[in-house]
Each structure stands twice: as C-alpha cells, then as structure tokens.
Amino acid sequence: MGARAMWKAEISVGEHTVPIKLYSAVEDRTVHFRMLDAKTRTPVEQQMFDPSTEQPVVDGTSRKGVQMEEGVFVVLNPDEIQSLEPPESRTIGIERFVPSSAISEAWYDRPYWLGPDGDDAAYFALVRALAEEDMIGIAHWVMRKHRQHGALRVNGDHLMLVRMRHTEEVVPASALTAPTGREADMREVALAEQLVAALEGPFDPKELQSTYDDRVRELVEAKAAGKVVKLATPSKKKVTEGSLASALEASLKKVGGARG
C-alpha cells in the first residue's frame, strides 16, 4: 500500500533536522508506445553511431564533450567530469524562507511529497511551524549527482518539495513591461469586474480532464480487441466581435441568462 520512496534525506533548518522520505507527486499516465521493427514486429534497440564512419560505436570507447558553438566541441575526460560532480549528501538544506507570494509559478518544475522517516513528531512540528508562519523554505540538495533547488511548502497536512528551475532558465521579471495605452473607463472596469465575478467558481481539477489520452487508450484497446473506434470531433465556438463595453455587457447578459 502506498508508493515507494525515491530517496531518504534530512531537512535541515537552523539547528534542527527532520528525517524524511521523498516520493514523486506526479505519475505519467499517458499511453506509451514501443518502437517496433516494422518487418519483424520486434522491439528495436538503440545504438550510438559515429556519423563520420557510419559504424556503431564500440562500448566503452565514447567520450563526453561540451559543444561551445556549432561545430566546436571541448572534450572532457572522465576524471574532469567526476571532479565537477557535487559531493553526495543526504541533507536538504533550508537557508531562507520567503512568503509564498514571492515565488511565481514559472519557477516550479516538479513536485515531490515528503513523508516522515521515523520521527513523525518532528515532521508534523515542521508542518505546523511552516503553516503558522505561512512561509515557504528555499531548499538546496544534491540528488543523483545533480544540484537541485526547490520550495519546501505545506500542502494540506503534509510537506511538499517542489523542484524549482534555475535562475538562468526563468525569464527575469525585468524582461517584461506591461503594454500601455489609454486607460479603460470606469464603466468598462466595472463591467469587467462583474463578468469575472459572474464566471467565478471553485477550482475543480476534474474539469481539466484532457480527453486525448483516453482516446489513444480507447484506440489501442479497441484495436487489440479487433474493433474499430468512431471518434467525435469537438465543436467549435463562435467568437463575436464588437465594442469593448457592449461586448462585456452582452457577455454579462449571456452569463446571467445561463445561470438564472
């Protein structure tokens, strides 16, 4: 019962340490295909080839390198690569805490659940402390020879570690300035707010169901059973044009009508 932990570590906050187990919070549910040799219908294998000789590479003879620019590589030797690897560690260090509003979702990459590893009291004390302070911890750790950064946060009753992208991978806020122009008038502002309010509802993940994967699954299962699947195509909605205020007003009427 339950999932298998991917990793065990210790969260370190100030002088305190909390032992945890790390679990993936997402799982791939898409239909996976095997690549088959069309003639033999057997799964293919992968092999590295040297394009200059068109010959397969003999195991153990390949090197690794960095492309500096197109057509220029610098070869790194195994000892050099090894010297660049971060030292192994089982510590998730939290060196700073920020309010959740300080992190835009563009930073978030992959979520993990953290569960207690032997010391439930310490684990739930950290949950409580983070929740009461309403803060997110900025975490650093080394997993599988990679330096990682993440956000330690409370989710429900438990801790979650969301891996974050590196600074160099996220477009800095300074790259953006909002478009400018004549301000909307008060009527337009009021109508827009009313429309947002009229369309307001709870966040319901079940509504987010994408049907593509289901359709792929249906297809392969039907084919396996020797059947043929008929597919419905989604209908397209019409977009009406008009002046901003009148479009907002018409939208409100429509929404109101649908709800009333």
């Binding site: 095997r34 090197r63 920020v98 477009v171 429309l195 987010l208 479009a247």
Partner: protein, 329 residues
C-alpha cells in the same frame, strides 16, 4: 530496450525540429465572455543548462539510432512502427494517421470559462509557463483583463490546443502581463493519501516554537535569485572555456556532421526568449540576460591535441548523464 516517448510529445518534437529556435509558440484568441483578445504565446522558461554530448574516441559527435534487435542493422524512420503491448504480451501497431485522427480540432480559442481564487490552484498542477502577449495594435481588452484579474486576485481557467494536444491552463496576471501555465491532468497527480503519507500526529509544542523561531530568523521578503543559479552548468562551462583557451581537447567538426542529436532539447535558449520579449514589449534597459557559452578567443588551427581519456573512470560511463532537461514535452 528502446521505448518511444509519448506519442504526442514525440510528434511535437518532430514537428518542432523544422522550426526556428525562437518564435512565438503559437498565437491564440483569449475569449472572455464575448470579448476576444488576440495573443501570442512565448515560453516563460528556457534552456540554459550545459549538456554533455557523447563523442567518439576522436571527438566526433555521435548519433543515436534505432537498430534491429535481430541483426542490429540500423533502421530508418519508415522502418519503425509504434506498438502497444497488450496484456497478452503481443503488440498492436498504431499508425501516425490513426494518432493524428485523435488529435483535437485545431482551434486558436483560449476560452476563459472560469475564474478562481489564485491561491486555490494547487502548485501540484502547474507544469510549464508561457507569457501571453497582446497580438496587434489594440491592447485595451488585454490591459483591462489583466488589471481586473490582478485587482480581484483571480486566475482564469481555460483549455487550449497547442501542438496537437489540448491543455488545461491557468492564466495569471502579474504586473499587467498575462501568463498561462499548463496544468497536469488530475490522473497524473498523486495525492498524499495515494502516496500513503501518515495522518498527522500532535506535534511537540516546544519544537514547533523552536522551528518557528528558526524560520523567522531565516525569513526574507523577496526570492533571492542568486541562490538559485545553475552552479553545475557554470562549472562545466568554466572548465570547457578554460580548456578551449588553453587549446586542450578542442575538436572542430564540419557543422553538417555535428547534426542535431536525436534527444535534443527543444526549448529555445533563454537568452533568445528574453531578447524577443524585450523587443515585443519594449522593456526599459534592465539587467542583462544570462550569457550563453561565452565565445573564447578563436583558437587558430582546427584540431588541437586530443588527449587519451584518463584511465581512472573510463569504465564509469553513466558518471555524467546529459544534463537533465527541464521540460518533458
């Protein structure tokens, strides 16, 4: 054993390979009631990591190919079919055409059908962020929508068809700019229950107090982005640049031979994204974009000494996996 990536992402990759590196991914029309707001999408994150590439003993970049498991002869793309393993252990094959027929109808519409409180969207769902920039001269509906969402603290929920897939997206407004984030499907999410996390126990009060004190001591108002830099890539880059300057182990290959690797990351380099966003939005001069691999002084003479690999770790092949990609689609 070779396993194909998901049908859809694979397709996306093939299609993308022919496109230029920097582009608006696609354009769309945000519809908000009967108001339509034409927008262009740009990735909000991109590639910066240095990835190690596999080279031959003479430094030629290698190419990954599919080979027959029977006689190990290389197979061309048209000699490969997609198969799905049935419970009985045999394969049902699926054609490209069959998969294309399952794709949603191409539509540019991003229908904002619901607004929710920003904080209601669990970060578990968020996957990849894109900027939505106004497309065209008329920006008033865009500005009005962004201002309203910001003022009311609401995010919009919509669906959008991108690269043959339909995505659920959340739209956020920040500093007058709209940003979309693709959301994971609920069946991809594991709940705490599903993982088997234990029910809460009463925490030790004095420990909570101590931890709160520790948190307060380390509290900051803003995210320090300097603490989140990619040190590993920087270290690899620094070493490679030094070796290049010293003329050590530098290999030049004809550009055609270098080709593109099969598993090449399809994200645009972040520098290009930043440049184009600044151009599109006319940003004031701001902090410089992160530098790509700096061009070292051009080494004259094409190939320099390529030293034999050190013996120590020669057998330890997986020591340096190619840098992890940050985006799966």
């Amino acid at each position: 054993m070779a396993e194909a990536s998901k049908s859809s992402s694979r397709k996306g990759k093939e299609a993308e390979a022919e496109e230029p590196a920097v582009r608006s991914f696609c354009s769309g029309v945000l519809t908000f009631g009967l108001v339509s707001v034409p927008v262009e999408l740009y990735a909000a994150s991109g590639k910066s990591r240095v990835s190690l590439r596999m080279l031959s003993s003479t430094g030629q970049p290698l190419r990954r190919r599919y080979v027959s498991s029977v006689d190990r002869t290389p197979l061309e793309r048209d000699e490969i079919v997609r198969g799905w393993k049935t419970a009985a252990g045999d394969y049902v094959t699926v054609t490209q055409e069959e998969l294309e027929a399952l794709e949603p109808t191409r539509s540019r519409e991003i229908d904002l059908r619901r607004f929710v409180k920003r904080e209601e969207i669990d970060p578990l769902y968020g996957e990849t962020a894109y900027f939505l920039l106004p497309d065209g001269e008329i920006t008033k509906p865009y500005r009005l929508l962004a201002a309203t969402m910001q003022k009311t603290g609401r995010a919009g929920i919509a669906t959008f068809v991108m690269r043959g897939r339909e995505y659920a997206i959340a739209i956020h407004a920040e500093n007058g700019v709209l940003r979309a984030q693709t959301l994971r499907a609920p069946e991809e999410i594991r709940t705490a229950d599903a993982v088997g996390l234990p029910a809460p126990v009463k925490p030790d009060k004095s420990l909570v107090t101590q931890l709160r004190g520790a948190i307060q001591k380390l509290a900051e108002d803003e995210l320090d982005t300097d603490a989140l830099t990619d040190e590993s890539s920087a270290a690899v880059r620094k070493l490679a640049e030094k070796k290049r300057k010293d003329g050590l182990d530098v290999v030049e290959v004809p550009v055609s031979a270098a080709g593109s690797r099969d598993d090449e990351e399809t994200l645009a380099p972040i520098v290009d994204i930043v440049a184009i966003l600044k151009q599109r939005l006319g940003a004031a001069p701001a902090s410089p974009a992160p530098e790509p691999v700096t061009k070292a002084p051009e080494p004259k003479g094409s190939v320099t000494r390529l030293r034999p690999a050190a013996k120590t770790a020669a057998a330890k092949e997986p020591a340096a996996r190619p840098a992890k990609v940050t985006k799966k689609k």
